[in-house]
Symmetry: C2
Subunit: 472 residues, 2 copies
């Protein structure tokens, strides 16, 4: 059935008034309507006619059951902050927005866990946790818009993965609606439950292809007492890895270990008008954040600074003296993406590699670009402690946008081959969505992809859940 | 094909000499032979005739392929320290022992990760990590015998789960051989890899039913600088939960939070001849272990002791003054299982519950026993911070073992119903294996069990991998 043959009245009455809208609805601004079926990739044109705002799991199940019975595809829509087209509806799918499902459902003050609806905005979850004396540690730039359900469906990470891991680590239980409209509750709020396969892990990172995540029970922790931010300039790439190795021995918890190149710093300086961090330029910079519990931890950090200086791992370094300076240090790192995107045309890549393979990979990547794509420059930064590089290719001035992106289509498979050679991943955080689905084979074997398809079939036999994303 | 129709010479030549044995082999002591097809449950009689000792993944694949082509079932055999019959071969299966696969394959000193063969004994992994300046934190009583592959196949936990989580959290990548003899490599050694479903999580806790785990890449951490052990007596059960809640605010990492009853302490005292920890008895005792980095952490602990005393959460308390006293404190908790099992006949249960549901569950459980099973006593202890209770039922003197276990067969479903009511799990750590497979429905829905079966079919279409375990 296509959306044009849908009985509008029947569909509207499914879950009560004011919850299902059609494209021609006078209540809705057309641009606002379409925004629910797109994400931050901005390369796909949304094209859909039905938009649903269920308020609870049962209503989601009713919609999915209807879709199942009427062969209607569904795109789950969260905060739409993705960079892979996972939330794009461009084939007349029904867009199922979770944005009216943003409530706290339960809280355990003893264990320290919270159960929320999947449409809760991540920043609101941070607030709800803090109001209850706890802390939800998964944090990144888009938490003011992203939904917790979307975070789980894409296994979000962020800037403090070295300390807190990915969101997968904080999910105790999930309530989901599969592609048949069946409600499944995985694991409740238990920490330990060894009773067969842990199916919730299939949904974490599934990008909406197995069903809709409607509720989540999350483990909470407590906020660090204090932190210290350290910015250092590093003479060469191997020293970055040695520096990371040294952090294991500081005996003060490492919260973040980020790096960027002189090229990136230059863009931030000119865009955000921030001063040079050091008197002399350096090919690489590393930002480290440590968790501090008391003065003795500060002493340990001073000792660490001395030791890495003596070992020649850094050329210069500065410990932020106050929270304002710490903010400035973070700006060098967090301002990169914005600074480059605004002034230049950029082809983004979010990749990961075993740490020790990074240098040979980058060397080969550079010679590849120099040889086959003269003038292409790399803006390189990222969560190097997690093995995660943001490798952004910057368009040379003399190329048109069109020519540039056409050439990038050839760069991608070349780069992905290199990643494969060095046991890396074509998507560290952003997921596969539409953008990288043709390249999935560079990171997953044919046998694995076949298994994924069989697993999808078992939960979504009619292939109505976010079809065409990730694979197939 | 049954094992009697197997061509012995053909099978023996499969992976080279000295690696495959038959029951009638003169090289093998019959009892030693049979020990490879059993575990610590001791309630099942092993019955099998072929025992293989592959030395690498390719040899495992050859054996599984042979088994697949000849309809021969396989039981993967690790350290056989399980308590659920998961490693029992009682239906003429081929027993595939991983014990000759115990080598370190790779190590990354920068990231801090190690790749090992699955047959490595857990304690040896601890040693290998320490020799390299790192620490593998998953630890429990049986690490001197258990294999790392078995730990992963059962998602092992242990005494420091409140700090380090279950082993699932430390697995970066797995190499497995599925039920068709295909080798799959999941994720390599990457921390971040959002490229479709994370299939390794299906194998973690699968108890050998999807295939054989042959290699594992594991994340390492660093050893705590020091620790402190605190033993307190607690007047009632709600105070235990409040006490746990208070630990979130100490700002010193909690390594363990264990509890036991006066009944358990009595058994340990009489069996191990240890002195009373406190002058007055108390219904409950809690052992806490904290990670200490410096003197200021010690001050925080003193403050914590003061605060919980003032709040009336504890009746008495003692901070171990040295490592010997710390060991004695741990003996109260770790000696329980042995002390009870040696003097009494016991029906063991390893269950988990949301913390806040523990008290009503225990109250109902007690009244159930008092009403229907007079004379049955409960030895209650466990990792209460993880929601994990070891609820052991002790045989009344007047019952024979046979009568007792017959009655326990009726207690189990009663208890599991109660667990279901309070959103608990019938197996927190031990898994399902043979022992609890008839009760799986108390913790997993019919729809979930159906999905598990479909997933198994996709990886093990002929159902030769540990058939009859966990489900069906």
């Amino acid at each position: 059935m296509t959306t044009t043959t849908i009985n509008k009245a029947e569909l509207k009455s499914l879950i009560g008034p004011g919850k299902i809208f059609f494209k021609d609805d006078p209540d809705f601004d057309p641009a606002a309507f379409l925004s629910f079926g797109t994400d931050r990739t901005k390369v796909y044109r949304p094209d859909f006619e039905i938009l649903a705002f269920p308020t609870n799991t049962e209503e989601v199940a009713k919609i999915v059951k209807y879709a199942y019975n009427n062969d209607l595809a569904i795109v789950p829509s969260g905060g739409r902050t993705g960079y892979a087209g996972g939330a794009v509806a461009k084939n007349k799918e029904l867009v199922l927005s979770l944005s009216k499902m943003d409530k706290v459902l339960d809280f355990d003050p003893f264990f320290g866990s919270i159960k929320v609806q999947a449409g809760m905005i991540t920043k609101n979850l941070h607030k709800e946790a803090e109001e209850r004396g706890f802390y939800f540690p998964v944090d990144f730039a888009s938490t003011g818009s992203s939904h917790i359900g979307g975070n789980i469906a894409t296994n979000a990470g962020g800037v403090r993965v070295v300390r807190y891991g990915l969101i997968r680590q904080w999910v105790l239980g999930l309530t989901v609606v599969t592609g048949t409209g069946e409600i499944l509750e995985f694991n409740g709020e238990l920490l330990k439950n060894n009773t067969g396969y842990d199916l919730k892990h299939l949904f974490i990172g599934s990008e909406g292809t197995l069903g809709v995540i409607t509720e989540a029970s999350l483990k909470l922790t407590v906020k660090p007492v204090d932190n210290r931010v350290l910015l250092v300039s590093v003479p060469d790439f191997p020293s970055i890895l040695s520096l990371f190795k040294e952090t294991h021995q500081v005996k003060v918890p490492l919260l973040a270990f980020e790096f960027f190149t002189e090229y990136c710093l230059g863009k931030v300086k000119s865009h955000l008008s921030v001063p040079d961090p050091f008197s002399a330029p350096s090919p690489y910079y590393v930002l480290m954040e440590f968790e501090i519990g008391n003065e003795s931890d500060d002493e340990k950090l001073f000792g660490f600074m001395e030791s890495i200086t003596e070992k020649g791992l850094i050329s210069d370094g500065s410990l932020a003296q106050n929270s304002r300076q710490a903010e400035t240090f973070w700006k060098y790192r967090e301002g990169i993406s914005e600074s480059i995107s605004i002034e230049y045309t950029v082809h983004k890549n979010d990749i990961s590699l075993p740490l020790r393979n990074m240098e040979p990979f980058l060397r080969e990547m550079e010679s590849l670009l120099n040889g086959k794509y003269p003038g292409f420059e790399i803006a390189l930064f990222g969560h190097v402690g997690d093995g995660n590089l943001h490798l952004n290719i910057v368009k040379p001035k003399e190329l048109s946008d069109e020519e540039f992106f056409k050439k990038c289509k050839n760069v991608d498979p070349d780069m992905f081959s290199l990643l494969q050679k060095y046991n890396g991943s074509i998507s560290a955080e952003h997921g596969i969505g539409l953008l990288k689905k043709d390249f999935l084979g560079f990171s997953r074997s044919e046998a694995e992809i076949l298994l994924m398809k069989e697993i999808k079939k078992s939960m979504d036999p009619k292939n109505i859940m976010n079809p065409g994303k990730v694979f197939g």
